[in-house]
């Protein structure tokens, strides 16, 4: 067999890749036939409910479960984060932390059992004011979270006798003194939660010494080792399954401590266990995204090009006390001179976990707003200021890409027609309108992925890969790649994913999945096809390189009469199936995938200045992504990201009681989210210049979820002429800002 050269079919030859293909499991999902972890019930299972700590900061002194144990149907009370009799108290640092689990015959009995637990707490002072740096400092709730400085070479170096910090301070101040425009501002974005529609958890049982887990996970192939580590068994004794998942967004990579508790309870009781979080537990401990607040001073030249950036930001990731990573400040833009500092705030909240494009949405929302305020100060067009500052960005090779994307975005939102200077638009009654921009970047390198592909002698095709479909259409992409490569209709391939017993495939985090499965499935299919071509070539007495697979046939290029049907060709395999396992390792040089995308988003909003209500009129997303695999699911990925951006910009906010620290809006009736009527018109544009396809597949999960918040915040500022500093831009905040501006 000749060595296989991995490649993608040329555009004009592709039947499926780059086309609009509906999700293969769309019908199952929309009819409820698809079984999510939450839907799985095992024979003789017990249901577990857990007591969440009602206090943000306390010590659990003791647990009295005697009344719980008397509830008919309660089978086991299991301490999770609570002391056994005689043990030291356990300190709890977040509202909702699971203390005690109750396993019972039904969910209602388990809940009743939980309600009868008597727990003694010693209350400790809590702190949740993550926006208030001074208060945090006074309460010793801060931690240094990095920083640094870089000055233009021309400025030189401090002399041997200079105090370095003093010298730097002097140079920074000189740069501000030389600046034509200086902008000072403060900006912020609150903590939001992942709010997965399907809560975290598992339904599991022990089969002898083997743990079989249905787990709502973004990490099918590697959740087993999390269970194994905690339970002191080997990863080969754990099977993890997840056919469908109802949202993860970066929060579902591990068994979590309640998954481990479920396995322990199953062991103790000898019964299958179903343990998924309740809605309020899901919001409280299922995952959250850190907040960020910033004081910024920037200086720009007469053209509005920022020459010096000086910032200090803070925020909270919960009780571990870190904040948004300082490395991305200012976001995408990188003036020649910058100084930045970060402080983490320790609050009594569950530690945050990855949320779609970790750090980027916050960095974008609290730094690109300062660039927009520069435009406001200069009485200039924001689009011009963004364009001019492309001369100083962190990936200079992308500046032309951004410029082109901004041009396209401006056309799509009709920027020139609707633009007005900040606060200078026409009013209709109390309503004003505005435009805003944000730009973003992301890597999107393909993750490692292996695929086992079997071709049966009867022509059947099946694949096995331990990847997962987060709802974005991974299963469909796998089938498309195989069907495209083998020249078969998409229904002719049977794709199997969602089990840790299948060949390894990386976790779905960082926009790495579409690249991963495209790599492994294309490689496997090209290899298997090469083997099949060898057999067919021999039979047809033609060179294998003259063969092609299309329309369910393998034929000789240019000789349509010389061909075999797929089935006939497969009959040449013999009695055993033809099997190939492809292996792709993250970072391997490949013609099939690459990384690094740019993107811009623009928003047009209307603001009712009497009520502070903000309404999205239109949002435009311009996004490059290399080779587009499935145009339909790629589009819907971006629509979803825009809606998430609107949610975080206008609605979502974790609200902690300032006194007790309790997370008080942890139900969907009080945790506000946008509805369809709140999204306005959403326009998605794939930026596909001529060379884009040649870059291969690049992940799309995170990038479109980054810059929408900045675009909306900037649009509100453009509409009202007033900066509403902190997202979400609730009516209260808009009115407060308008009132402050009036003086």
């Amino acid at each position: 067999m000749a060595e296989v050269t991995y490649n993608w079919p040329e555009n004009h030859k592709a039947r499926l890749i780059g086309k609009r293909v509906s999700r293969l499991d769309g019908m199952e999902k929309s009819t409820g036939a698809a079984k999510y972890t939450y839907d799985i019930n095992l024979p003789k299972q017990l249901v577990v409910r857990a007591l969440g700590c009602p206090h943000a900061h306390c010590r659990v002194i003791s647990v009295d479960a005697s009344a719980t144990e008397k509830v008919p149907g309660v089978v086991l009370v299991h301490l999770i984060k609570a002391p056994k009799p005689g043990d030291e108290p356990v300190e709890i640092r977040a509202d909702g932390t699971l203390l005690v689990a109750v396993a019972a015959e039904t969910e209602a009995i388990a809940a009743e059992g939980v309600s009868k637990l008597k727990v003694k707490y010693e209350l400790l002072e809590s702190f949740v004011a993550d926006h208030d740096l001074q208060a945090a400092e006074a309460k010793k709730r801060t931690k240094k979270a990095g920083g640094g400085i870089e000055l233009d070479e021309a400025i030189g170096e401090p002399g041997d006798d200079d105090d370095e910090e003093e010298w730097e301070e002097q140079k920074v101040q000189q740069l501000f003194a030389q600046s034509k425009y200086v902008v000072e501002g403060n900006y912020g974005i609150d903590t939001i939660t992942h709010c997965c529609l399907e809560p975290h958890g598992s339904t599991l049982h022990w089969d002898g010494d083997r743990l079989k887990v249905n787990h709502s996970t973004q990490n099918v192939s590697r959740t087993d080792d999390g269970y194994a580590d905690a339970l002191k068994i080997s990863a080969d004794e754990v099977d993890v399954h997840c056919e469908y998942i109802g949202g993860g967004f970066g929060s579902k990579f591990k068994p979590d401590y309640w998954g481990i508790a479920a396995a322990e309870i199953a062991k103790q009781t000898g019964r299958p266990i179903k343990f998924l979080l309740t809605r309020d537990q899901e919001l409280k401990i299922g995952g959250n995204r850190p907040s960020g607040f910033i004081d910024v001073k920037l200086g720009a030249d007469e053209n509005g090009v920022v020459q010096v950036w000086d910032s200090h930001h803070w925020g909270t990731s919960g009780f571990n006390g870190s904040t948004v990573s300082v490395g991305n400040f200012p976001y995408v833009f990188r003036p020649k001179n910058w100084r930045r500092r970060a402080t983490g705030i320790i609050t009594d909240n569950e530690p945050s976990v990855a949320w779609r494009a970790p750090n980027h949405p916050q960095a974008c929302a609290i730094t690109q707003t300062a660039y927009d305020d520069l435009a406001a100060k200069m009485q200039a067009d924001s689009l011009d200021i963004f364009l001019r500052n492309l001369e100083n960005i962190d990936s200079p090779e992308k500046s032309l890409v951004y410029a082109e994307q901004l041009r396209i975005g401006a056309d799509l939102i009709d920027w020139r027609k609707h633009w007005h200077l900040h606060g200078k638009g026409k009013r209709r009654g109390s309503v004003v309108e505005g435009l805003g921009i944000g730009i973003h970047k992301w890597g999107g390198t393909a993750n490692s992925s292996n695929c086992l592909l079997k071709i049966h002698p009867d022509g059947g095709v099946e694949s096995y890969c331990g990847t997962q479909d987060l709802g974005t259409g991974t299963r469909t992409i796998c089938a498309m790649v195989l069907a495209e490569t083998l020249g078969l209709p998409i229904e002719a391939v049977k794709v199997n994913i969602g089990s840790s017993t299948y060949p390894f495939s990386g976790a779905s985090g960082g926009s790495t999945t579409v690249g991963a499965v495209s790599e492994s499935h294309r490689r496997a299919a090209q290899e298997v096809l090469a083997q099949l071509f060898d057999l067919v070539a021999k039979r047809l007495e033609v060179p294998a390189e003259k063969l092609e697979a299309s329309n369910g046939n393998i034929s000789v290029v240019g000789y349509s009469d010389k061909s075999m049907s797929w089935k006939q060709a497969c009959s040449l395999i013999g009695i055993q199936p033809l099997e190939v396992t492809s292996i792709y390792k993250r970072g391997d040089d490949s013609p099939l995938s690459s990384s690094n995308v740019a993107g811009c988003q623009m928003a047009r909003v209307a603001v009712d200045t009497d009520t502070g209500v903000v309404k999205i009129i239109k949002m435009v997303a311009v996004q490059d992504m290399g080779l587009v695999m499935n145009r339909k699911t790629a589009e819907s990925q971006i629509y979803g990201a825009l809606i998430m951006s609107i949610a975080a910009a206008l609605f979502e906010q974790r609200i902690n009681d300032p006194k007790t620290g309790a997370f008080i809006n942890s139900e969907l009736d009080s945790y506000r989210l946008p509805r369809l009527g709140d999204t306005g018109e959403l326009v998605v544009h794939f930026h596909e210049p001529e060379n884009e396809r040649a870059r291969g597949v690049i992940g799309l999960g995170e990038p479109p979820a980054i810059s929408g918040g900045a675009a909306i915040a900037n649009a509100v500022c453009n509409a009202t002429g007033v900066r509403v500093p902190t997202l979400p831009l609730t009516p209260k905040r808009v009115l407060d800002a308008l009132r402050t501006a009036k003086g």
């Binding site: 209602a108 009995i109 809940a111 009743e112 309600s115 309020d280 026409k426 209709r428 009654g429 109390s430 309503v431 309108e433 209307a606 009712d608 009497d610 009520t611 502070g612 209500v613 309404k615 009129i617 206008l650 609605f651 609200i655 902690n656 009681d657 300032p658 006194k659 007790t660 309790a662 008080i664 809006n665 139900e667 009736d669 009080s670 506000r672 989210l673 946008p674 509805r675 369809l676 009527g677 709140d678 609730t730 009516p731 209260k732 009115l735 407060d736």
Partner: protein, 349 residues
């Protein structure tokens, strides 16, 4: 959720009997859109749940000899919207349309909506209606709490979105129990009260009593409207609301009724504001003045001063809307092109 007995009576008498059994904590179930959530959160822990929706007499929308329309306690919001007898109550329909959830419209009942328990997060977290005599709200996050009627320990806002419009329409409720054959007709406005002690509810219903009907009188030629300040298009609780009913003769308001929602522990009847409107033409200025008057006694908590403006705007817009004018907010169709508004006077024919 605690285990409970479930009863499904088919007559009003059976229902009263089931609700009044001694030593049983009972709850009335109709649509369940509020009750079930509260039971799951263990805020309501009834021993017995009595489902009244199978009682035939409660399933109807009927017109009596006086022209009043009787809405049974099992009638859902969607059925009210679709019923021809209710076309004369546009302000109520406007609010139901704003409860933009097909599930709530189809499952939730009109009477249940009137009795929805407060959305106050301290109440729903199990701290009681008064949440430590108002201290938790005062020291806590009170962005959605009361700006009026908040000088006692109660700081929550009444949760009903329909009550303001129905009160302006002069609606009454029929209440039965706790004794067999005991029945009373009460002004809807009098159903509500501001609790002063932990033992009191936000309504006057006694254990064993329940509302069987809402009775809405015929409206005559009054102009009615409701305006809710909503952050988004979802079914979330509005930030402030007002309903208005006015008699306009020869361009001048003769009678007016103005009720605010989401601002106080009860629907808030703005009598002085309504009085101020009488004898005037509805104009931008008079509507704004009435809005201003409606919140003149407001006393904000630490985080909800913005609600004073919202309540003021809600009243102003409800008045304008009742008189048939553009409210000037985001409800105006977009895109917003500059237009020359005809003067208000030319509209009053």
């Amino acid at each position: 959720m605690k285990n409970f007995e479930y009863a499904q009576p088919t007559t009003e008498d059976e229902a009263v009997a089931l609700l009044t059994e001694p030593k049983k904590d009972t709850a009335v179930l109709a649509g369940g859109t509020d009750l079930v959530g509260l039971m799951k959160r263990m805020v309501v822990t009834a021993d017995r749940v009595v489902n009244i929706s199978e009682i035939k007499s409660l399933q109807q929308v009927e017109r009596d000899d006086n022209g009043s329309v009787w809405i049974g306690a099992a009638v859902c919001l969607g059925d009210f919207l679709d019923n021809r007898h209710t076309d004369q109550y546009p302000s109520t329909k406007q609010v139901i349309q704003g409860i933009s959830s097909i599930q709530l419209q189809s499952q939730g009942t009109l009477v249940g909506e009137l009795l929805r328990r407060p959305n106050c997060w301290y109440f729903r977290e199990g701290h009681g209606l008064l949440a430590d005599s108002g201290r938790m709200v005062n020291e806590g996050d009170n962005r959605y709490h009361a700006i009026l009627g908040n000088r006692g320990p109660a700081r929550f806002v009444n949760a009903s979105r329909l009550a303001p419009s129905l009160i302006t329409l002069g609606a009454q409720v029929r209440i039965i129990g706790p004794e067999k054959d005991e029945e009373q007709i009460l002004e809807l406005a009098d159903l509500y009260r501001t609790p002063a002690a932990d033992s009191e509810l936000e309504n006057v219903l006694q254990p064993g009593q329940f509302v069987t009907h809402v009775i809405i009188p015929t409206h005559g030629d009054r102009l009615t409207a409701a305006y809710e300040v909503r952050q988004g298009e979802g079914p979330d609780q509005p930030l402030a609301a007002a309903a208005v009913s006015i008699d306009v003769v020869a361009g001048t308001v003769q009678n007016a009724s103005i009720v605010l929602g989401q601002v106080a522990p009860t629907p808030w009847i703005a009598r002085e504001a309504a009085q101020l409107l009488c004898g005037k033409e509805v104009t931008e200025e008079s509507a704004a003045m009435v809005g201003h008057q409606a919140v003149s006694g407001a006393m904000p908590l630490s985080q909800n001063e913005y609600k004073i403006q919202l309540a003021q705007v809600a009243v102003k817009r409800a008045v304008l809307k009742a008189a048939g004018y553009d409210t000037g907010g985001l409800d105006t169709p977009m895109p917003l092109e500059p237009t020359v508004s005809p003067s208000l006077e030319t509209h009053i024919a």
